[in-house]
Symmetry: none
Subunit: 205 residues, 4 copies
């Protein structure tokens, strides 16, 4: 036993974390689909069978990882006060804060974001149910906001189309930042510019 602590002395929780940590690492390196449970467990000092003491299968450990990120996002989205969208200023302000927070959260969980962003969904395999559902949630929220803004006369564009453009754009930006490591610059300024582009673009034609 080469560890300082013997395995018995590590708590179950610690081991669970160790496996999650290993999975996170391997998923980033090899992608979800190419990762085998052996790959994950090989990164730890545990035995193969031990994996199944903590997780049912690859899907479950992926879900758990992704939840960290999704819950953080969802938490913030739920705090959005959709009533505070009376004026153009409100909308700008609200969107800037939301986008900023979204980026912050993604950067904070950048490893998981990395995995999610480099794993596509669309084929109806077991695994992308969750990602799809989460994307749909974000889409719904965006649509509600934009529809409201259109009703108030603040924006003038198809809310559904706009939501797709915005979500797609954001995903690409974050992908470049996190996966491609192409981020440099002042995030605050960038956020302001992004919001401005979409808002100005969607205003009265």
């Amino acid at each position: 036993m080469e560890n300082a602590l013997s395995k018995r002395e590590q708590s179950k929780e610690e081991k669970r974390k160790k496996i999650l940590q290993a999975a996170r690492k391997v998923f980033i390196e090899k992608g979800y689909h190419s990762t085998s449970i052996s790959d994950i467990i090989r990164q730890t000092d545990l035995a193969r069978g031990t994996f199944y003491l903590y997780f049912r299968d690859k899907q479950e450990i992926f879900d758990e990882l992704v939840n960290e990120l999704f819950q953080a996002i969802t938490r913030h989205v739920n705090m959005l006060d959709l009533d505070k969208l009376e004026s153009e200023q409100d909308l700008y302000h609200n969107l800037e804060i939301t986008v900023q927070h979204l980026f912050d959260t993604l950067m904070k969980h950048r490893e998981i974001a990395h995995i999610v962003l480099s794993t596509p969904f669309g084929t109806d395999s077991d695994f992308d149910k969750k990602i799809e559902a989460h994307h749909e949630m974000l889409f719904q929220v965006a649509t509600v906001i934009f529809r409201k803004a259109v009703e108030k006369g603040i924006l003038n564009a198809d809310p559904v189309l706009l939501s797709h453009l915005v979500l797609g754009g954001m995903k690409e930006i974050v992908f470049q930042w996190i996966v491609k490591g192409r981020y440099e610059g002042d995030m605050k300024k960038e956020v302001r510019e992004i919001v401005r582009i979409y808002m100005k673009g969607a205003q009265n034609r």
Copy 2:
């Protein structure tokens, strides 16, 4: 041999196409990762070993399929006359045509677009080199256009940022159309709206 033509009489090229055709079908049905070479060859009247006479592995056949689409896109992008971007009208016109053509091409090769859009990339496996390179190409073209427009004073936004937003938005739209099957409506009108949003959004702040 119940075929009208015996296998011997089919040209090599015909067999190659038959396999490509089969692969396209199965990739869409089961997704790239869940597709085995057996799945592909089962859709043909050829034998398993024959696959390897025409393609090295699954990777290679995927590359070849994807090339059909990429070459079509590249061909058009190369025809873009970047000098015809003097006025705002020019830009609008040019972009509308380009976007329209892009969508047309993707819809024409929608099967392959489907596969590309629902297949992971981002992990540095051999295979996504190609997708990445193609994306990069599109990105470069977009950046050049937007940079030029900024220089001419037509647009006023960070060309790099704008390119990412536009590409991301387009990808999402096409994903919704093709993979999710959520397209209904007048594509021409939609294209005009998309271009308008980005252009208005990126004009003088």
Copy 3:
């Protein structure tokens, strides 16, 4: 500890019984081969490792269960008074009582009988030694009785053959009753008929 008695206060004997009880239940539900030690211990409030404090392996607990039944049968068979077989009446009477008692005992331990009757034997694994030995014992007793009856001139058939027929027939009947749940009717009457068939069949040719 939510139990009225803490585990410490339960006697070893109680725990042993608890495990046996659980094993009996699971063996019936899933069959001997499909039952894992985890399955057994899951039915108790004990820990997995505890099993091995009481039993060496699945085999041993099975043996012990089966003993309950075998000892009950053996006990009665040993009480048979083989001297009381002078007349045909004696024989009839004795057999009826014996068969009746055998059936009673099997019905009383029907759970274990169920397990025994639906568990393979015949392969020379360790475990069916016991079943075989017990069957042999019954066979010997039957043979002795029938041989005696032949010597007295009451029966006229090969005692060995007759023993096999009788034992096989009984096993089948009990199998139908217990495992298939096909018993309905008046057991006493049935027993009388069974005995009659064998006795009449085996009388002077």
Copy 4:
């Protein structure tokens, strides 16, 4: 390659037989439940994956083996002319022939009979469906015959009970002969005695 013939030169059918042969051997030695596919394939000079080219799983190879025997039995049972049961002589004659043929068939396929007889059924696992169904078939045939004999006044006993007794007895006899290897003697004579016992036993009370 130590074989005289290379593997390519052996026909598929030969290899299929080789695997069946190996399975038959191992099933007898270890019993169905304790036999793994590795055990079977280890007896051949083939690779593990090859098994699955010929059989879906252990169940399927077992079914195939057992079919050899069951079809042989069924074939003969179907030839039974149930109309030729008018007189006591007819019945005796018919039964003697049937029993004799049954024994012949079982002895001819004694290896498979061995497997079937040492593998119980009763637990509703996948595997014993077939055995159970076959037993049921024999039971039905026996019941029909005995019921008819009762209607004609030739026999006087409960046909169901009698069928169980007869089938159980026969199974036990064959088990002793084949599995225990306890057969000596004149099978013809034995058959005559068995039939006599059951017939006399079941005649008018």
